[in-house]
């Protein structure tokens, strides 16, 4: 019983983290048709920004702890915004209209550049921002002790998902964006400023990536290479859910999160294969992912 409860709790926590990481990726793909390999780097930049800012805050005269949560989010927003605008305006804008796969490679080049760029800015020593993580304490459920920060993360992730959904479904800007997702040519014909929508979307995506990194930073040691590790995970979640679908990313994250937690508790030897196994299975039966749209070419 305890382990079933543990699977549910661990699975949801992991799923909420996966969703945070994958949301930005799927938004960018949905609107811009760019599968962004550098998404992991934005995650890492968010983590580094947050960890260095929060670390600095606590090392220099302890203010109230709650400020550090604002700093976490603030660091991510600023970092995501700056990097997003620079990359979109400075690089991607030159490349629009190129082949989808070529865009993957371009972002791969960006990844190589950003990984070393971060090393130049932050070095290779670990950064920590553990105070926000340990500050919230933990809750005991029998043998199982759960970090409150992790539980809060589930809430944040759910709120973020709902917020994104509401923004897409309930606001005018969201409607325009959906039009672009649905049919770019018609959207252009209707007078949508696609260029502007691209900038907004890309910056939103990078900011989400940076936010995921910033919210993860307190629980980990921020070191070189953390971004590389999340890319394939995020890709898998997004592909499982259906590229470009927010709801799909949420379901994909839950599926992977729960499967992984179950494997850790019941069949640890399969843990390494879970994510690829789930992805292969889903794609074998639903080639476009769970919520992907099958597009029949008009002839």
């Amino acid at each position: 019983m305890t382990s079933l409860l543990a699977v549910l709790i661990d699975g949801s926590i992991y799923a909420s983290w996966l969703f945070l990481v994958a949301a930005g990726l799927t938004v960018i793909y949905g609107v811009m048709r760019i599968l962004n390999m550098a998404h992991g780097s934005f995650y890492a930049i968010g983590a580094y920004s947050a960890a260095s800012l929060v670390g600095w805050y606590f090392n220099n005269g302890m203010g109230p702890a709650w400020v550090s949560y604002l700093l976490l989010v603030g660091a991510a927003l600023v970092a995501g915004l700056i990097v997003g605008v620079i990359v979109e305006r400075g690089l991607l804008r030159l490349m629009y209209g190129r082949d989808e796969i070529l865009m993957v490679i371009i972002t791969y080049a960006l990844l190589l550049i950003l990984e070393d760029g971060m090393k130049i800015v932050w070095g290779v020593s670990p950064y920590f921002a553990y105070q926000p993580y340990s500050e919230l304490g933990r809750t005991s459920l029998g043998l199982l002790k759960v970090s409150n920060y992790d539980v809060a993360l589930v809430g944040v992730s759910a709120l973020l998902g709902l917020g994104l959904w509401a923004w897409l479904e309930r606001t005018n800007q969201g409607k325009v964006l959906r039009a672009v997702i649905h049919d770019r040519e018609i959207a252009v014909a209707m007078g949508v400023n696609v260029k502007l929508m691209f900038t907004i979307t890309f910056v939103l995506g990078t900011t989400l990536g940076a936010l995921a990194g910033a919210l993860t930073a307190p629980a980990i040691s921020v070191v070189p290479g953390i971004g590389i590790e999340v890319i394939v995970l995020a890709f898998a979640v997004v592909v499982i859910g259906g590229l470009g679908s927010i709801g799909g990313a949420a379901v994909g994250a839950l599926l992977v999160g729960l499967s992984r937690a179950a494997a850790v508790h019941y069949a640890p030897e399969f843990e390494l294969f879970v994510i690829y196994g789930v992805m292969s299975l889903v794609l074998a039966f639903r080639p476009e992912g769970l919520f992907g749209r099958t597009l029949v070419r008009k002839i």
Partner: protein, 315 residues
């Protein structure tokens, strides 16, 4: 068998390479061996790119080729290099025939991700296989060539180099023909307009399947040669970043000519090795900027430097 001009030039360049091997320093021979062997894997990536599919999992066959050669010598007493390389290609073909059944249903990003997933599953299996050394891998040695054991060191290195050049030449000539033959051209047709191919009464899936299996064999050959040259195999060969490197080299060279992957692989190796020497802390950044520069200024790859003037006539 009539050879056309391209084939004769390829043969001459290969001959020049072999001769050059006798006068060049050991590190250079090794660098060229690895570059040419990897170029064979890249040929596999390029074959699929021509048909519109980008494999982010070609490391799968690179790894299968390498491990088959290694395991053949280590566990099954297959010490003859040619036999081991052939076995590697055979295993790759069998696995590709199975995976191809599923993979040819997918296009674009889904194909890329699924091929990546299969490669990562092999990586996982190898990491779990402690008898194969897990992530440390194992060494490949004591191989022979038609019963002759090249002396360790420079002798064996030189033999692998020559074998790689010869294998590269054979593959290049075959691919040169392949790209002009039915499956080769029609695979490009599939990339350009799959619906039309279907309405010509052809099965795009069958074509892609044949192409996928052929590409797997070529890539496995490259993996086997790499294993012989480095004398070591490990699961990193199947890791997705390895496959990413192959795509990198493929784009560097472009799809313009069968020689492009070879040139690109050599250029890549030089850029990387000197970047590591001169800027050991930021060599990846150098590679990133190189890739961006190629994409922006040479959208058809390095080969467009050689063949600027060609437009009407197609290879």
């Amino acid at each position: 068998m009539r050879l056309d001009k391209t084939e004769i030039s390829l043969g001459l360049v290969a001959l020049a390479c072999v001769l050059f091997g006798f006068v060049s320093p050991g590190w250079l021979i090794f660098l060229l061996t690895i570059a040419l062997a990897k170029a064979l894997v890249v040929q596999g990536v390029v074959m699929q790119m021509r048909s519109g599919l980008v494999s982010f999992g070609q490391g799968l066959f690179y790894c299968i080729g390498g491990y088959t050669v290694g395991m053949g010598g280590q566990f099954f007493g297959i010490h003859d290099a040619i036999a081991a390389l052939s076995l590697g290609m055979f295993v790759a073909i069998v696995i590709a025939m199975l995976l191809g059944l599923l993979l040819t249903r997918y296009r674009e990003i889904f194909f890329a991700m699924l091929s990546l997933a299969f490669s990562m599953i092999l990586f996982g299996i190898l990491v779990k296989s402690q008898e194969l050394g897990s992530t440390d891998g194992f060494n490949v040695h004591d191989w022979t060539l038609f019963g002759w054991a090249p002396e360790a060191g420079a002798g064996s290195q030189h033999t692998v180099f020559t074998m790689t050049v010869v294998a590269g030449l054979i593959v290049a000539v075959l691919l040169h023909r392949y790209t002009k033959a039915g499956v080769g051209v029609i695979c490009e047709a599939v990339r350009e307009n799959e619906v039309r191919v279907e309405y010509l009464g052809l099965s795009p899936r069958w074509l892609l399947y044949g192409n996928y299996v052929a590409a797997a064999a070529v890539s496995a050959l490259g993996g086997g040669l790499t294993a012989l040259a480095t004398g070591h195999v490990d699961p990193e060969m199947a890791y997705w970043t390895t496959s990413g490197e192959f795509v990198f080299i493929a784009l560097l060279g472009g799809l313009g000519h069968v020689a492009a992957p070879f040139i690109a692989a050599i250029v890549f190796s030089f850029v990387r090795t000197y970047a590591i020497e001169f800027v050991p802390h930021t060599w990846q950044m150098i590679l990133g900027f190189t890739l961006l520069a190629v994409i922006i200024f040479l959208p058809k790859g390095l080969w467009s430097l050689v063949s600027r003037e060609k437009t009407g006539e197609r290879a």
